[in-house]
């Protein structure tokens, strides 16, 4: 079974907010709503009583985690929130009655009521793009090449990010630009299993992963 997800190498993220802006621009996210947000975690002391420069800080991109066992899907009375075969959690707006129980049941607060359409919305993992083999906007536009998209079942080392196109060779077309990719294992620094984290898991089993070396991962899993 496929479970599409995003892996973020937190050590590569510079907090440029390009992912957040790209998401807003591509998906027409209403003012005040954020399908993808970049939080700064820290500066926190590295150990008890530590003073600067012994502090650490990182940026954390948060959006719908397209959980394996999503609570939002369980509580939806009309199955407007549902899970697709590619593992993503989607909302059928025509079925949404706007009860917002999905908003309450989401541990990460990443669902928003669209005040104009009066339905709940959230990150779709750019389903309109990934279903055509493209990358989600937040991955495609990542300024630090810190975000990688792929199928969790295939291992995060095979997740992909866009890569430089050498226009001096071959075909410098749009298609080549869009399809030129690099795998996570070929670009990120070494990491161990205990450096791969997820957001707080309360039984929903979030699919997204965060690679954090050097820094101390804040928050339970």
């Amino acid at each position: 079974m496929t479970q599409y997800a995003i892996v973020t190498d937190v050590n590569r993220c510079v907090g440029c907010l390009a992912c957040s802006v790209a998401c807003k621009a591509l998906n027409g996210v209403p003012v005040g709503n954020f399908w993808n947000k970049t939080l700064r975690i820290g500066p926190n002391p590295k150990y008890e009583g530590a003073q600067w420069p012994d502090v650490d800080m990182y940026f954390l991109t948060v959006q719908c985690q397209h959980c394996e066992d999503p609570e939002c899907v369980k509580v939806c009375p009309t199955q407007a929130s549902h899970k697709l075969e590619d593992g993503t959690v989607q909302i059928d707006k025509a079925k949404c009655i706007g009860c917002q129980f999905c908003v309450m049941s989401c541990p990460y607060g990443v669902r928003y009521l669209n005040e104009e359409e009066r339905v709940v919305e959230k990150c779709t993992l750019c389903e309109q793009k990934i279903s055509q083999g493209e990358l989600p906007a937040c991955v495609a536009q990542c300024g630090g090449r810190a975000r990688f998209f792929g199928d969790l079942e295939q291992g995060i080392e095979n997740f992909e990010a866009p890569y430089t196109v050498d226009i001096t060779e071959g075909d410098p077309s749009y298609d080549k630009t869009v399809n030129n990719r690099i795998k996570l294992k070929d670009i990120v620094r070494d990491y161990s299993d205990d450096q791969v984290h997820m957001l707080t898991n309360v039984g929903n089993n979030p699919s997204f992963r965060y690679i954090v070396r050097k820094h101390i991962w804040r928050g339970e899993e």
Binding site: L39, T78, C96, I97, M104, P107
Partner: protein
């Protein structure tokens, strides 16, 4: 999270309706206060309708309610099923009261059981792992406590107003047990909420560039006695204890018309206040977004 008044009113009115209908069932089993059966049935039905109307104000697209409605794992679907079952029991009860002026024991038991089931189901809908203060069975139990206090109080008041003879032993006992259960369960749920504060994810200092003026998230702010919720928690506890005190006094002195109404008002106010605390303490486990 923000107060969801339609949901607060819905759950409280459902508890009130079920409490009254169940109390009616208890009196029917004992064969007392038959004159109050029909007015009590109408009152509980009206309370249920008011709750139902209130909840529609929460729905953004109520006209789509049957657009695929029926996902059984959803608390809303379960509530609807429980409401339909209870309304059927009410209709059967209505038919029996019209025909024979009393309901059968089977229907009386159904009134008690299905009322309790609806209250539990309505409370259970909010048990979500994402919200530490909500994810406790004391949530639905506290709602059941409110029903247990409200129902006997209002039934006694209606019966007195209708001139029915109330056996002080039964009325006093039911009111005392109901209000005592409400007081205990209210206090227990508040204690559970206070302890649940330790389940929030803490990340130390954080900053959200889209809300630069937002204060740091603090799990302590989601406590039932923290600044925002202290007033409603206090009202909930005081009202529950006051209802118990009134039941104790009424058991000795009677005057159920006034005392019963006072118990019902206090139980209702306490339930509303506890639901306000419920929302004010209802932060998500990862509260930084």
């Amino acid at each position: 999270m923000e107060l969801q008044w339609p949901l607060i009113l819905f759950t409280t009115f459902v508890a009130a309706s079920c409490g009254l209908f169940a109390a009616q069932g208890v009196y029917a089993l004992k064969g007392e206060a038959k004159e109050a059966q029909m007015p009590a049935l109408w009152t509980s039905f009206v309370l249920l309708v008011v709750g139902g109307i209130a909840v529609f104000f929460h729905l953004q697209h109520w006209e789509r309610i049957f657009n695929g409605f029926g996902h059984i794992t959803s608390g809303i679907t379960q509530e609807l099923i429980a409401i339909v079952v209870l309304v059927v029991v009410m209709i059967v009860c209505f038919a029996q009261l019209r025909r024979e002026s009393e309901m059968t024991k089977g229907v009386a038991w159904c009134a008690i059981v299905f009322s309790a089931v609806l209250v539990i189901v309505a409370g259970h809908s909010y048990m979500m792992p994402s919200r530490p203060t909500w994810d406790s069975f004391f949530g639905p139990l506290s709602l059941l406590g409110a029903a247990a206090a409200f129902g006997p109080g209002l039934f006694a008041a209606i019966a007195s107003a209708k001139g029915a003879e109330l056996g002080d032993a039964l009325t006093g006992k039911v009111a005392l047990v109901g209000t005592a259960a409400n007081a205990v369960l209210t206090c227990c749920y508040v204690a559970v909420m206070a302890v649940a504060g330790g389940s929030f994810t803490q990340v130390g200092y954080s900053f959200d560039p889209t809300h630069p003026n937002k204060a740091l998230q603090d799990a302590a702010a989601y406590g039932p006695f923290a600044g925002g919720a202290a007033w409603s928690t206090t009202i909930a506890i005081v009202a529950a204890l006051a209802a118990l005190a009134v039941a104790i006094v009424a058991r000795k002195k009677g005057n159920w018309k006034v005392m019963g109404a006072a118990i019902a008002v206090l139980a209702f106010a306490g339930a509303i206040a506890l639901r306000v605390t419920f929302y004010l303490t209802g932060g998500s486990v990862f509260m930084y977004y």
